[in-house]
Amino acid sequence: MAYEITLITTMAISILFALSLNFITGFCGQISLGHAAFMGVGAYTSAVMLKAGFPFLFTIPFAGTFAGLLGILVGFASLRVRHDFLAITTMGVVFLFVGLVRQQEFLGGEIGISGIRGSPFGRIGFMYICLGLAAVFAMFSLAVKRSWMGYVFASIADNEDISRVLGIDVSKYKLIAFVVGTSTAGIAGALYTQHFRFVGPDSFGFVESVTVLAMVIVGGIGSVWGVAVAAAFLSVMPLLFQFVNDFKILVYGGLLFCMMRWAPDGLAGIVSRWIKRLRSTS
């Protein structure tokens, strides 16, 4: 039973993390190659506070706030640079984050922070918290997607200049997307800390950023259901199959490449094409 609880908790945290990136990249069309840095900020915030004796639930808002503050900064950067330049800038953010954390004594340097105390709610209680947060954010994403704000995001993702001509305050909505997405990633980071009871600089690097981007893309950019399914599947795949665990990066890389090469609209795109074909034949 303990094994299933670990699986489900890991899954829930990954879903929350992937949906938070989906908010920025999927909804608003701003590519981010450094999303793990925001999870890292949340995870470290929570770890330091837990070590100082604060209760776990109390650390969650702080984890979200600090990650969101960094998110505003990167959001401002996204107002200055676009497309390829933004991709590389966000990539720079994650390298900066790892580079800074490595050299800080109080964050444990290369070794990281270990020996974090377990959840006061027990493993099952904690699993429900993670599932609950993931579900709440998924509902919120769905609601935003169907609201006027979702259409504004879609229009910015589609063509920024035309949106501006239409009178949309592009800068404002980009910042909103960044703040919501990054502070949610921070909250996912706090959950990560409590789940693994260890944080280190290598847990939040570039490969992790690409991994979460892989979840969003394999799921289908912008599709809440697709991304949640892909995140659940990809996050537990290495735990379920030893083969996948041994060659985790090869499998992720290969899958991501094949997806881009043959089905760039992801699972959601495959499913919707499939449904369309069923309807047209019947």
């Binding site: 590519i31 190659l33 950067a77 200055r80 640079v81 497309h83 390829d84 330049f85 991709a87 590389i88 800038t89 990539m91 720079g92 953010v93 390298f95 900066l96 790892v98 580079g99 800074l100 490595r102 050299q103 570039f206 490969v207 690409v210 981007l213 892989a214 893309i217 060659f247 990066i249 090869l250 992720y252 890389g253 290969g254 899958l255 991501l256 490449f257 881009m260 090469r261 760039p264």
Partner: protein, 287 residues
């Protein structure tokens, strides 16, 4: 004295960055693709260099063979990975490229083993004593010299040969070039061949300086080379060369003076972000 030594270290590192980043700039200039998998070719070059040197004993032969073989691999990467994605939005090929790169790192690990390879007889040991206790290793001198030679040849090729002119014409305006009867497909192959061959040379040089090749040697290089071409203004060759040298020198000084605050590999990105916030189009990019 310390300043001069740091400066030379920076130039050596900068030459290597320039060789890697040049291929990226060429690909970006022609196809608007951020070719992250370029660094896999750099790693492949390093492996071939060490293996061939160990087998034949000739370092120069190894460099030449590595450059030619990797050049053709570069063409294959274009054919298999990028050509089918050209009509898709740009981030698709970027992510495909990242995926290809991280998968290739794992493939190197499986084929060549996780611990890396070294030269049985490391070439170019020994050093010049220039003046007042200032040493320059043969290897470092060779890297600077060969980098300059390769860049000069490339410059001559682009400026004074028919192929070079058709290449520049295609970069400037592909449709017009096609209308003048230039085979743009061949130009793309040539572009990938040259860029990949230069990356292979850089891989061989790094393998020589560290006497080690390992599966992950490309990762830092790839991201840093991206930082360099963005810094140079994406697609600008002169900007890339300047940015490569600047990053090389900044790193070599920065490690000493602010290394306790920031990891060496993060310095390039700190510099990049600062520059982009002031000049979003890069150092020499056009608006």
């Amino acid at each position: 004295m310390l300043y001069l030594e740091l400066f030379f270290q920076g130039i050596v590192q900068g030459s290597i960055y320039a060789l890697i980043a040049l291929g990226l700039t060429l690909v970006y200039g022609l196809l608007r693709i951020l070719h992250v998998a370029h660094a896999a070719l750099f790693t492949l070059g390093g492996y071939l260099g060490v293996i061939i040197t160990n087998a034949t004993g000739s370092f120069l032969l190894a460099t030449a063979v590595a450059m030619i073989v990797v050049g053709f691999v570069g063409i294959a990467v274009y054919k298999l990975a990028y050509e089918p994605l050209l009509s898709k939005p740009p981030f698709i090929s970027l992510i495909a490229s990242i995926a290809l790169f991280i998968a290739s790192e794992e493939i190197f690990r499986i084929i060549f083993g996780p611990y890396g390879l070294s030269y049985t007889n490391p070439p170019m040991q020994g050093y010049f004593e220039l003046f007042g206790g200032f040493f320059l290793k043969y290897g470092e001198a060779l890297v600077i010299a060969l980098s300059v030679v390769m860049l000069v040849i490339l410059g001559w090729f682009a400026a004074a040969t028919r192929l070079g002119v058709s290449w520049r014409a295609t970069v400037t305006d592909p449709d017009m070039a096609r209308a003048f009867g230039i085979n743009t497909q061949n130009v793309r192959y040539m572009n990938f061949f040259i860029g990949s061959a230069l990356a292979a040379a850089a891989g061989v040089f790094v393998a020589m300086l560290n006497n080690l090749v390992e599966p992950s040697m490309g990762s830092v290089a790839s991201y840093k080379a991206l930082a360099i071409i963005v810094l140079g203004g994406l697609g600008s060759i002169r900007g890339t060369l300047i940015a490569a040298m600047a990053i090389g020198i900044i790193e070599s000084f920065g490690t000493i003076y602010i290394g306790h605050l920031l990891d060496r590999d993060a310095l390039a990105f700190a510099f990049l972000i600062v520059v982009l916030m002031i000049r979003p189009q890069g150092l020499l990019g056009a608006k």
